[in-house]
Every structure is written in structure tokens, then in C-alpha cells.
């Protein structure tokens, strides 16, 4: 019970800070203020904001869960986050230049302007919105997990209490995003990241000592008694899967609407370059967090309860530390790691909907103030959709999220390649995008080729573009002549 009370107090305090962050009315006065913080965030705030995308509840619970159930294959996350930054180094600053010059707030805005194609903009926006929903759900299911594990013994029915906590957290996230815009998650992410660092360093250092006596002994036990968990084995999660999933996830990371939102809120392009250089050092912790999943496999009973591996980190905390306050602080960290990123995600999806689906497609004459207000109200619709989705398909969430990465990466030719290849044509990219997403689902349900679905999708996507781009040469030339985005600067 002490653990649960501590968790609740910490979480509510941080949510309060989120409301304070938006007490200035300017934070919701127009879409640029609300969705990308007026594009006025300095290097440090960007650091925390982008960091917030990497250190989410899904990272903690998901990676330790993978470590527990798949062993070494879970370490695909290491090359994944490491490689995402050199990629970002080449893409984000260029993108930021265009975005700042033409007041763009989403990647779909960029696609629309770059290709002078409303259809492509809408497609990119819909890709983002659809694949974000299961991701938001996964974030917030971290909270249900915390309540279910921490509340065991205190409540007659911890599952039901977990669902109530889930609904309350969805409402809190929606309210604070509605009021404060990006400033809420930006400021709360600083507290969250500070907690994440302290708690994770404490865990990484103390878990081996408490459970094994020393670091050396922990590795020794792993090598002698559980060698199978330390290398990749042929099969569905062999080395080909490892390589393709790391590469595809790295390419996809900054294609996520919430990650690009963080990047576009920067004050200048050089901040983004600097962050791409220094943020990866932040990821070293990720390696040890993943290893905690293997530790969990070594010390905890191997239960077959569904969803057990998804909250294995929480059981490891319970198994290792016996002080209620310590447990509570740790659970609170996981809960915050789900609330803060969820808020950025909901915000990004709402902005995509208001700007790129409603204004560009359905209601072209919408005024800016109407667009801002719609985006803010859409926060509630988006959270409701995510909640509905989570209640309807609770068991498919993880696999949907994995397909989400595969789907999301298909916009990289439209966003990344287009920055470097001036004669890339709209029709080729549009057909490639559709073919890529189709291939992801075909491979998942029909072909079942080895490796990551997104890899095969992107391969088809790029082959289609290379084959078709020649056919649309005239279209590309026309775009080159008439497009202000390609001719200035």
C-alpha cells in the first residue's frame, strides 16, 4: 500500500507541473504555439523532449519483457537507437529549415509542400494517426500494469482498479495536453527523465549486488547457467530478424509524428545537429535496462500467465526491493514514462488530424483559430479512440505496435529521400508508399518471409519508386519549376 500511495503522489505532482507549464494563455493561442511550442525550445529542452520519445514505458516494460522472453534478440534495441541518430543528423536539420520557413508543424505538411500534393500529405497524416493509436495504448497500459502489480494484496480486484486508473490517466493526459500543448510534456519530461536516470542507475547498480553479490557474479551466472539467453539462435528471432528490425526501427524512429514534433519545436537547426551527436550517449542506459530482462529470466519464476512478460520489470522491482517507498518511486517512474510520451503522441496525432486531414482535405477554408481549437478538442477524440481500442483489442496491442513501426517507416522516401533527391516525383512516392504498406501486411499474414515485415515493405516501396520515377519525369520537372520549397534557400 505504501508503494501505491507513493506512486500516486509522485504522478499527481508531476501532472500538476504540466498544468502550471501552460498557465500562460499564449501556449494555446495558435497552432504553432500549441503544437511545437512556438518553435522556441532551446537545446536542453529538445534534449529532454526527444529523450522522452526514447525512454517511454514501452521501452522499459517492452524491452525487459523481450529480454525475458527472447533473450539476446531483445538487444536489437541497442543498434536501433544508436543508428537512429546519425540518420536524424542528416534528415532533421534540413527538414527543420523548410518547416521554419513555411511554418510547417507536421511531416505531412512537409510532404504536401514538397510534392505539391494534398493527397500525399493526407496519406502521410493518416499513416501517422493510424499507427499511433496502438502505440498510445501500449504506453498507457504501463499504468494498468503498475496498479495491478503494486496493488496486489491491497485490493480485492487489482485488475478492475487498474482499469479505473487507466481511464483516469487517459483523462488526465487529455486535459493537460488540451490546456498546455507541447509545453506540458516538455517541462514534465524534464522531471520524468531526471527520475528515470536516477532510478535506472540505482537499479542497474544495485540489482546485481542484491541478487548476485556482484556484477562479475551476475555475468558468471548468466554465462554458466543461462548461455542460451546470450546469443541469437536460428528461428523467427535469428540474426536476420535482429539486423532488419534494428535497421528499420532506426529509420522509423524520427518518422513517428511525436518524435518529429519534438524536433520541429527546436529554436534552430544546429540544436538538432548537436542533439543528434550527444543524445546517443543517453542511450547507454538502455543496454543495461535490456539486460535486466535477462536477469528477470534468471531469478523469477517462469509463469505462463498472459501478459506476465510485459510487466516483468515490475515483478523484478518487487522481487529485489522490499521498501514500499523505494518500490513506489520506481513504479511512479514507469507510470510517468507512460503519461508524458502519451501526451506528446496524442498532441501530434491531433495536430495531424486538424491540419492535414481536416484543413487540407475536408474543410479547406478553415480559419487558423478554428484549426487550433479543433486540434485541441481532437485530443479528447484521440484519447477516446485509443481507450476504446485498448479495451477492444487488449491482447493484440504488442503485435500491432510492431506492425506500426513497419508501417511508419514507409513514409521515409516521402520525408527523407525527398530532401536529397530533387527529381523524386509525387506519383512514384505515393504509389511506393501504398505498395510498401500493402507489403507489410501481406508479409505479416500471407508470405511470412523471415525478418522484419517493415524491411520487405520498404524494399518493395523503394523498388517501386526506382522503377516508376522515370515514367513521371515530366511531373517531377514541373514540380521543380513551380515549387517555392525547392527553389529558395
Amino acid at each position: 500500500m505504501t508503494a501505491l500511495v507513493t506512486t500516486a503522489i509522485v504522478v499527481l505532482l508531476v501532472v500538476f507541473v504540466g498544468f502550471i507549464a501552460g498557465r500562460d494563455k499564449a501556449s494555446r493561442s495558435n497552432i504553432e504555439e500549441w503544437s511545437v511550442g512556438g518553435r522556441n525550445f532551446g537545446g536542453l529542452l529538445i534534449w529532454f523532449l526527444i529523450g522522452a520519445d526514447v525512454y517511454t514505458a514501452y521501452t522499459f516494460l517492452g524491452l525487459t519483457g523481450y529480454g525475458y522472453s527472447l533473450g539476446a534478440a531483445a538487444f536489437f534495441a541497442v543498434p536501433y537507437v544508436v543508428l537512429a541518430y546519425p540518420i536524424a543528423y542528416y534528415i532533421l536539420p534540413r527538414l527543420w529549415e523548410y518547416a521554419a520557413r513555411y511554418k510547417l508543424t507536421t511531416l505531412a505538411d512537409y510532404a504536401r509542400e514538397r510534392f505539391q500534393s494534398r493527397t500525399l500529405g493526407v496519406l502521410v497524416a493518416l499513416t501517422g494517426i493510424i499507427f499511433l493509436i496502438p502505440y498510445i495504448d501500449l504506453q498507457l497500459s504501463g499504468i494498468t500494469g503498475v496498479v495491478a502489480v503494486a496493488g496486489k494484496g491491497s485490493f480485492a480486484n487489482p485488475k478492475a482498479v487498474g482499469t479505473i486508473a487507466l481511464v483516469i490517466s487517459f483523462i488526465l493526459v487529455a486535459l493537460y495536453t488540451f490546456f498546455s500543448g507541447l509545453r506540458a510534456p516538455a517541462w514534465t519530461s524534464m522531471i520524468k527523465d531526471a527520475l528515470v536516470w536516477i532510478i535506472m542507475i540505482i537499479m542497474v547498480i544495485t540489482v546485481p549486488f542484491i541478487l548476485f553479490g556482484s556484477w562479475g557474479n551476475m555475468y558468471h551466472t548468466a554465462v554458466t547457467q543461462f548461455p542460451k539467453t546470450l546469443t541469437l539462435h536460428p528461428g523467427p528471432h535469428g540474426d536476420f530478424w535482429f539486423m532488419t528490425s534494428a535497421l528499420i526501427s532506426a529509420l522509423a524512429l524520427f518518422m513517428w509524428p511525436h518524435a518529429s514534433t519534438g524536433a520541429l519545436s527546436s529554436r534552430n537547426a544546429n540544436n538538432l545537429r548537436k542533439n543528434a551527436v550527444f543524445l546517443p550517449f543517453y542511450n547507454i542506459l538502455l543496454f543495461f535496462i535490456t539486460f535486466l530482462g535477462i536477469v528477470a529470466y534468471m531469478v523469477l519464476p517462469h509463469l505462463k500467465t498472459p501478459g506476465y512478460s510485459n510487466v516483468i520489470l515490475l515483478y523484478l522491482i518487487q522481487h529485489t526491493y522490499h521498501n514500499g517507498v523505494v518500490q513506489g518511486l520506481m513504479y511512479a517512474t514507469v507510470a510517468l514514462a507512460s503519461l508524458v510520451p502519451a501526451s506528446i503522441m496524442v498532441l501530434a496525432a491531433s495536430n495531424l488530424f486538424a491540419t492535414n486531414v481536416l484543413k487540407d482535405w475536408l474543410i479547406p477554408h478553415m480559419s487558423d483559430s478554428a484549426r487550433t481549437l479543433t486540434a485541441r478538442w481532437f485530443v479528447f477524440v484521440m484519447t477516446f479512440l485509443a481507450l476504446l481500442f485498448g479495451v477492444l483489442f487488449p491482447t493484440q496491442l504488442i503485435s500491432l505496435q510492431l506492425e506500426g513501426v513497419s508501417g511508419m517507416v514507409q513514409i521515409i522516401p516521402a520525408i527523407g529521400l525527398s530532401l536529397f533527391w530533387r527529381r523524386l516525383s509525387n506519383s512514384a512516392v505515393t504509389i511506393g508508399l501504398i505498395a510498401g504498406i500493402a507489403m507489410v501486411f501481406l508479409n505479416h499474414f500471407v508470405f511470412k518471409l523471415a525478418g522484419y515485415d517493415g524491411f520487405w515493405g520498404l524494399l518493395v516501396n523503394i523498388i517501386v519508386i526506382l522503377l516508376l520515377n522515370g515514367l513521371f519525369r515530366r511531373e517531377a520537372e514541373r514540380n521543380l519549376q513551380t515549387n517555392r520549397l525547392l527553389n529558395e534557400g
Binding site: 541497442v78 543508428l83 546519425p86 546517443p280
Partner: protein, 59 residues
């Protein structure tokens, strides 16, 4: 040069995986595969830093 550095990153982090997928030799008690991933986690940002420095010098 910058392209070369990117290719090195790709080889170290991705393409080398099938060849380093083993427990032995242990380094600092760590299985070799995990140790490899860990050092590339440090080398890669250093290489990115190098690219950044070259870009800054050019400006």
C-alpha cells in the same frame, strides 16, 4: 569521408552481427556479443561527432 563513416557505423552495428554472435571470448566477464553491441553504442556517437566537427569546420 562522411559517407565512409556512415558505412562503418552500418557495418559495426548491423552487418557484423552474424559474425560476433557468440559468448566467448568473455570481455570483462561479459559475453562477447553483448560487449560488441555496447562498444558500438559508444563508437557510433563518437563517429557522428566527427561528422559534426567536419561539418562545422566546413562552415
Amino acid at each position: 569521408m562522411r559517407t565512409l563513416l556512415l558505412i562503418i557505423m552500418l557495418i559495426g552495428n548491423i552487418l557484423a552481427v552474424p559474425f560476433v554472435n557468440s559468448i566467448h571470448p568473455l570481455v570483462l566477464g561479459m559475453p562477447f556479443f553483448l560487449f560488441w553491441l555496447l562498444i558500438w553504442m559508444i563508437i557510433t556517437p563518437l563517429l557522428t561527432w566527427w561528422i559534426y566537427a567536419m561539418d562545422q569546420a566546413r562552415e
